[in-house]
Amino acid sequence: MKKRMQNKIATIVLSLGAIILIMPLFWAFLSSFKTTLDVFEFGLPDKWHFSNYIEALSSGPWIRYFINSAIMAGSIALAQSFCGALAGYSLAKFNYYGKNFIFAIVIGTLTLSQQVVFLPLFIVVSSLNWIDTYQGLIVPVMIAPFSIFLARQYISGISDSLIEAARIDGANEPRIFLSIIMPLSKPMLLVIFILAFTAFYNNLLWPLIVVRSEEMQTVALALQQFKSAWYYRPELVLAVTIITILPMTVIFFFLQKYFLQGVSIQVEK
């Protein structure tokens, strides 16, 4: 009886919290259909101005921006999961000279994310002449210490006897990696992929530093530029804002399970 009461209270508190949490997005959604005059009012629009969306999207090559974001976030996510798994396998399943030192470098650089070392990274990118290119956007962030760490933790949990059996059967390491480690690590690979994709689709600082031309802009960057140029039309800014949120929302809706799994994989040690 007491438990039931407790659960009811928990449900009510959590639902209220969820409503408060979603409110700003809901407001933005409603306001994106309004006019410049009533855009900051809270409530349903008097008339739904769908034309805001058409007007806003015809301001620039938005499809191009979405493709750029997809190319950038997709390649980074793919590279981070594959390279993470390679290094994670080495750190989890072998004993060798210098391993602890390498592991210390991985943990030591865990907090030196691209947002912390963006100035030195910019200097590297510009000395490679990679400013305003896809390789400039992708290569310097292709490997993340965090994904190596996640992969190492996950692969540690794979049973040694499977690997030993394969070795006795004469399989070489690349074969073991591809036919045992990779298939068994699928949930972990997916998690790294999703986390990295989300992080870089949403990231503003990195494209802001690397990109110069309009046709290389990502969604996050284009939205920032749009806001500066169209500050006097907040309803259009909000329409574009909603559009930029949409792809991740759809992805999240369908892959929810893996997003949430991603969180728990980080916690299991």
Binding site: S15, G108, Q115, F177, L223
Partner: protein
Amino acid sequence: MKKIWPYILVGPALIFLLTFRVGPTIYILILSLESRNGLFPTLINYERLLNPRFIEVVFNSFYYVAGGIAVVVPTSLIVGLLLDQAIKGRGILRAVYFYPFTVVMTAVGIIWGYSFRPSGFVNQLLGYIGIQGPNWLGGSGIFAMPALIIATSWRYIGYFALIFLSGLQTIPRSLYDAAEVDGANSFQIFWYITFHQLKPITVFVLVFSTIEFLRQFALPLIITKGGPFNKTNVLALEIYERAFRYFEINEAAAQSMVLISLAIILSIILYNVITRVMK
């Protein structure tokens, strides 16, 4: 042959981390010790940091981080604990709380920037319950940092709540049963079992929320641009402006070293926690 495989496997990652993390960090250290007219080594860039403006930036960063932790950690712990109850619609609630984490940083900034306008929707809602909201992002600027902390926390609370939730779900049921048999009250159960078992997770959340607030760039840039009166200018934003607006690379390098040092301190804490947990 067998001995070199682990090196080949870890090689790409190691070379990469040295080229794009360790190397550039050392390079920026050298740049920070060089004066604008080529004098090396010199501490002049660090001496320049000792002006009231930059000291305020460091103070702002600490304020931002401390305020952020004070909001995010307890709130996400509470949400995590509540989500751990056997409640209806838990799946939906979990998804709703996580959802802000998937929103583009720029969009988060734009929406909260508009929401905190003097007649924006935050003040309209406060008006409904009879509170006259302040001029959040303007005026003398004392409300700007709290506004920024709320906006940033909004994105991370659900994420960290789910981290806590996963931690809670790894606590063995038998511990609770044993405590109940022993006649422990609910406070004792929370303190001696839940809280104790959650310690490593709490440290993880503390360190990672610190990092998120310490390196935050997009939200201060979009919501306040560091204003009013430098009140929300934080490290990442200041370094960006120094380097890319004023082109004072050497001074920006010295400022970067401050941010990097703080990050490295966090890494050392993390390293200690991780190696302890793994043993």
